[in-house]
């Protein structure tokens, strides 16, 4: 559904138009029918990539296909729904008038438009009293729901969402998650960016991690996490302050707990504990979460 090959984008900022590389050699393939999470720190290039895909930004070089067309072509947007981060709309319109405006731009009219509006508002739990109020009175959460509703009004094949859960309360996040899953069940491909990594882990089929304008990891959650070594958390019984730590072992933030980076370090550490007469109370193994991996990648990029 989305194919990106060798995408590069440079911004020219300031009076002297100094170049600043925003995206470097991005390669992405988003197959049809999946939920694809796009994660990275602030300023990594998530929104830039999304805006290139929606035709809002031009790009320097690379080959991009969105639903079979170049994002520069109007045709690419006929099968596309998009909700920007912190969506803003015409605040003199009511929520329902806004839906009607965007629906007509998407080619909907009359009964069909009404039907679709009801469907979209129901899906994001926005079909309430406030939908007939002017948008200037809306809270951030209400705006986000209306933003999502307008993006699905045309029943797109591809839905691109920029931080759809940012600024929402837990109920709102759950509603958006459920809406994404429901749309995906109906065959909609969803490509979205998010800071909320627990949500990304729970609903995404595949994930791409972008740091400093480069894709650093790509794959399913399992593929990404299993590519990292398992960590072992060991809790010791008595004081072990005099214990000399073998390489690959570091103290945890909790007293009496140790983190071993691999199985060999674990075995050496356990042996040395037993030799020193220190009891082992608990051994736990953990795969790093997306957050751990992202933090590690950010640290690597900064170094």
């Amino acid at each position: 559904m989305i194919q990106i090959e060798g995408l590069n984008k440079t911004y020219h900022t300031g009076f002297l138009m100094r170049p600043k590389k925003a995206l470097t050699d991005i390669h992405l393939q988003v197959p049809q029918g999946i939920i694809y999470g796009f994660i990275g720190p602030n300023g990594a290039g998530k929104s830039t990539t999304i805006k290139v895909l929606t035709g809002l930004l031009n790009f320097d070089s690379g080959k991009i296909q969105v639903a079979g067309f170049s994002p520069r072509s109007v045709k690419s947007r006929t099968r596309l729904g998009y909700c920007p981060e912190q969506p803003y709309f015409y605040d003199y319109l009511t929520g329902r008038e806004l839906m009607s405006f965007y629906g007509r731009l998407a080619g909907l009219q009359g009964k069909e438009l009404e039907k679709r509006t009801e469907w979209a508002l129901n899906l994001v739990h926005a079909n309430k009293d406030w939908i007939d109020r002017r948008l200037r009175t809306y809270s951030k959460g209400m705006m986000q729901r209306v933003g999502l509703a307008q993006s699905i009004l045309s029943k797109p094949d591809l839905l691109i969402l920029d931080e759809p859960m940012s600024g929402l309360d837990p109920m709102g996040r759950r509603d958006v998650r459920e809406a994404i899953l429901s749309l995906n069940k109906d065959g909609v491909t969803v490509f979205y960016s998010s800071h909320l990594l627990s949500d990304v882990e729970s609903i995404s089929d595949r994930v791409a991690m972008i740091v400093d304008g480069r894709i650093v990891r790509e794959g399913s959650i399992d593929e990404i996490t299993s590519s990292c070594s398992v960590q072992y958390h060991i809790r010791t019984g008595e004081s072990s302050s005099n214990l000399s730590l073998p390489s690959g072992v570091k103290p945890s933030s909790q007293s009496g707990e140790w983190i071993c980076d691999n199985a060999a370090a674990r075995d050496v550490f356990i042996q040395s504990c037993l030799n020193a007469g220190i009891s082992i109370e608990k051994i736990d193994h953990q795969r790093p979460s997306l957050e751990d991996i992202l933090t590690e990648e950010i640290a690597r990029a900064e170094s």
């Binding site: 911004y11 805006k51 929606t54 035709g55 809002l56 930004l57 031009n58 109007v74 045709k75 947007r77 006929t78 596309l80 998009y82 909700c83 920007p84 912190q86 969506p87 803003y88 709309f89 015409y90 003199y92 405006f101 965007y102 007509r104 731009l105 998407a106 080619g107 933003g147 307008q150």
Partner: protein, 267 residues
């Protein structure tokens, strides 16, 4: 066909947005107030009262149309960009050309409504003051509309790439240059004929006046109030040719605005 529909939807939305603008009402009420004030001007003037009322009101129409174009029109595109409503709008299957043309037609609709309202006020004043209202005045009002159609296109062109303040200054500049370019050329040629400036200076002055006259839209062509008020006949097909002239400039300005808008990044 789809593009026409998009243009219509954007134009209607622009119209709805503009008529909620408080500045618009200030300009409209100021124009109506000044039109009514023209009755007093007619009374005080040493010239014929009807002539003063007619020419003053036509000037008010032109200037208030300019103010609407500058203060309402210029912020239209910038507002979309600054409030980021443009992100959602341009992610729909509409071309950026449709966006620019839709915005233009929406604002032109506002100016047209303003002129219609002032025309009604104008005729009421003429009836009340028994200043021989005639239908021929409508041709002068139509010319004001054509002039405003060009000014709105200029305002939209500048607002597609510049800040509101600069766009306002540029638009006012084009308006005054367009009104004065003919006089400037005539003056320069007169001075040259009289031999007051000679040599390279004279050639340079004349060339610059010719360039200004050629580049800026000749808005002076649309000021036919003296012809209409004093019942001086216009050349045959004058309105037709001036309408075509306006269409040419509008097309050119909108094409440049669309081309520039197409190149823009929206962050």
């Amino acid at each position: 066909m789809q593009s026409l529909s998009h243009i219509g939807i954007i134009a209607l939305n622009t119209f709805r947005e503009s008529i909620r603008d408080k500045i618009l009402y200030n300009i409209v009420f100021l124009a109506i107030g000044l039109a009514v004030f023209s009755i007093l001007l007619g009374e005080w003037s040493v010239f014929d009262r009807a002539h003063v009322i007619k020419s003053t009101t036509l000037t008010i129409m032109s200037l208030s149309g300019l103010l609407i174009s500058v203060f309402v029109g210029i912020s239209l595109v910038q507002k979309e960009i600054q409030r980021k409503t443009v992100l959602t709008l341009l992610s729909k299957p509409i071309s950026r050309v449709s966006f620019i043309v839709g915005k233009y037609l929406g604002l032109l609709g506002v100016v047209a409504c303003h002129l219609i309202l002032l025309t009604v006020v104008y005729y009421i004043i003429l009836f009340v003051t028994e200043s021989s209202p005639s239908l021929s005045l409508l041709s002068a009002i139509y010319m004001v509309f054509c002039e405003m159609a060009i000014v709105v296109a200029v305002a939209l062109l500048f607002s597609s790439f510049s800040t509101p303040v600069l766009s306002a200054l540029f638009t006012l500049g084009v308006y005054f240059a367009g009104h004065l370019s003919n006089q400037l050329l005539e003056q320069v040629q007169f001075v040259k004929r009289m031999g007051e400036v000679e040599g390279f200076g004279s050639v340079l002055m004349e060339k610059m006046a010719i360039i200004i006259h050629a580049v800026f839209p000749g808005l002076y062509r649309y000021n036919i109030s003296s012809n209409v008020v004093h019942q001086i006949a216009l050349p045959d097909w004058y309105l037709f040719w001036q309408s075509l002239y306006a269409l040419g400039y509008i097309g050119l300005f909108l094409a440049i605005a669309s081309w520039w808008f197409n190149r823009r990044d929206f962050l």
